[in-house]
């Protein structure tokens, strides 16, 4: 009986090429992950020793001899306030725009805005910073947390709008038709059925936008400037984590530099937490929808 695979040489060569390609791909993957691992390890090793309750809760200060003491409480609070305000501005606008792009694609306004939205998403953040500097800082006469929040929301809106649009577009047409066939109006269908079905994608987009905004430094340089005091009003120069990392890191003073590592570690922890939570959200929900298709 003839053998099923008479040509051993070709088969061996094919297996060897297969192994080679697989190895190359694995190497590429490892190389891609290495920077992330190295950064996290570096920041963790230099930052963790600095973290303490007083580090997180006290303000920057100096002892009589000029040695820096104190912590990053003002920067933590400043960043937090700015993110919250940026969130409150960008979520309604971004989600609203995303809904419009997805549910009313036939409108001219929709196609044009969707395109400009994509352009804005790729804008250099320092340009956005300059824009807000001119429009808000110069006209109000002061650096402010408000200006910073506005700059951050301009960065966040396109991200949220795009992911909202994508998540809603995935919702099957047949679900919209099912709702409309029950005599439900179009806007109620969008609000109660479409958004409800696409909600995990929406949440993911918002979380990713927040994670991005947390780390933006350039626009903050031009809008909030930074400060050593605890924020008391939205209309004064305010401290923020990325700014603190930048200033302390370049200061040349070993204590301040150590504090910069600590702040960097905090930033990375928060970003990792946000990113991981999106995996959890998206993974579960997509699983449910897939099961019934």
């Amino acid at each position: 009986m003839p053998k099923i695979n008479p040509n051993h040489a070709t088969a061996r060569r094919r297996k060897a090429v297969d192994k080679l390609m697989t190895s190359l791909i694995v190497v590429a993957t490892v190389l891609a992950i290495v920077p992330l691992v190295l950064i996290i390890a570096d920041v963790a090793s230099k930052g963790i020793p600095v973290i303490s309750l007083s580090f997180l809760t006290s303000l920057p200060g100096w002892s009589a001899a000029g040695v820096p003491t104190g912590g990053i409480a003002n920067a933590l609070f400043g960043s937090f306030i700015m993110i919250v305000i940026a969130f409150l501005i960008s979520v309604p606008i971004g989600v609203g725009a995303g809904i419009f792009f997805s549910e009313w694609p036939e409108s001219r306004l929709s196609t044009i805005s969707s395109f400009t939205n994509d352009v804005l998403a790729g804008f250099p953040s320092i340009v956005i910073g300059i824009f807000v500097y001119i429009v808000i800082v110069l006209s109000t006469g002061t650096f402010s947390a408000l200006a910073g929040a506005v700059a951050l929301s301009i960065i966040m809106i396109p991200i949220i709008a795009r992911s909202t649009e994508e998540s809603l577009k995935i919702v099957p047409v047949t679900l919209r038709e099912a709702s409309m066939a029950l005599g439900v109006s179009r806007w109620r269908t969008v609000l109660k059925v479409v958004i409800s079905t696409g909600r995990s994608g929406l949440a993911t987009g918002i979380l990713l936008a927040v994670a991005r905004a947390l780390g933006e430094t350039a626009p903050l340089l031009l809008t909030v400037q930074g400060s050593n005091l605890f924020p008391t009003s939205l209309f004064q120069p305010t401290a923020a984590l990325p700014l603190l990392i930048f200033n302390y890191g370049m200061s040349g003073d070993p204590t301040l530099e150590a504090q910069a590592w600590g702040a960097a570690f905090i930033l990375i922890i928060v970003m990792l937490a946000l990113n991981l939570s999106t995996r959890f959200l998206l993974g579960r929900r997509l699983g449910e929808v897939r099961a019934e298709i």
Binding site: S179, A181, G183, E288, V289
Partner: protein, 253 residues
Amino acid sequence: MGTTKIEIKDLKAGFGGLSVLNGISLQISEKSITAIMGPSGCGKTTLIRCLNRIHELTPRAWVKGEVVLDGANIYDPEADPVAIRRRIGMVFQKPNPFPTMSIYDNVVAGLRLNGVRDRKILDSVAERSLRMAFLWDEVKNDIKKSGAALSGGQQQRLCIARALAVEPEVILMDEPCSALDPVATAKIEESIMSLKQDYTIVIVTHNMQQAARVSDLTAFMYLGEIVEFGDTTSVFETPKSELTEKYLTGKFG
């Protein structure tokens, strides 16, 4: 046979430059089951989607002509499509329960989304609709479970219950059993037959045996036109058109 519930007058419809319906005129009798059958592509789905104004939701879709429900044209410019769709319900070919809602929430969705909040009303509507769809006994203990966790046949009966909950006068069914096995199909046909006492039913099917089993009146469509229409027994046993006869004997389709 009975009074006319819906009169379709010279209905033309299509997408963009493509014409799918070439002038359909038909009378749908009240409280009976009218089957629309024909080979793929003849326009039967488009026809049924014009009856509850779902067709126009597709981009580039157009409609000409009149569809008169109880004496009023649903395509009148003053007519409200949302109100019409509450009177004419639809069950789709592939079961489409709302995936994020439980069985109970699915059934009462039509009421809830229109503002009905009273728990007692919703509870009684849910039970009544599920009974009419012959699904109550199977799910009454699991009514808060996800709608997507049911089998295909159960999901389709859930969709029927959902359509019934808003108390329409007419129920349109677009090949409701084509994605289901014979056992599930039989259950659904049973519930359809029991519904005709209270509702006017129009069912599109490419399964002519189903049309013969279930309907009182049958229309045969081909290439966007009604070739023959009459009571089911006559159409099947003594078709007037040669085309109908060819379709029934399987010479094409």
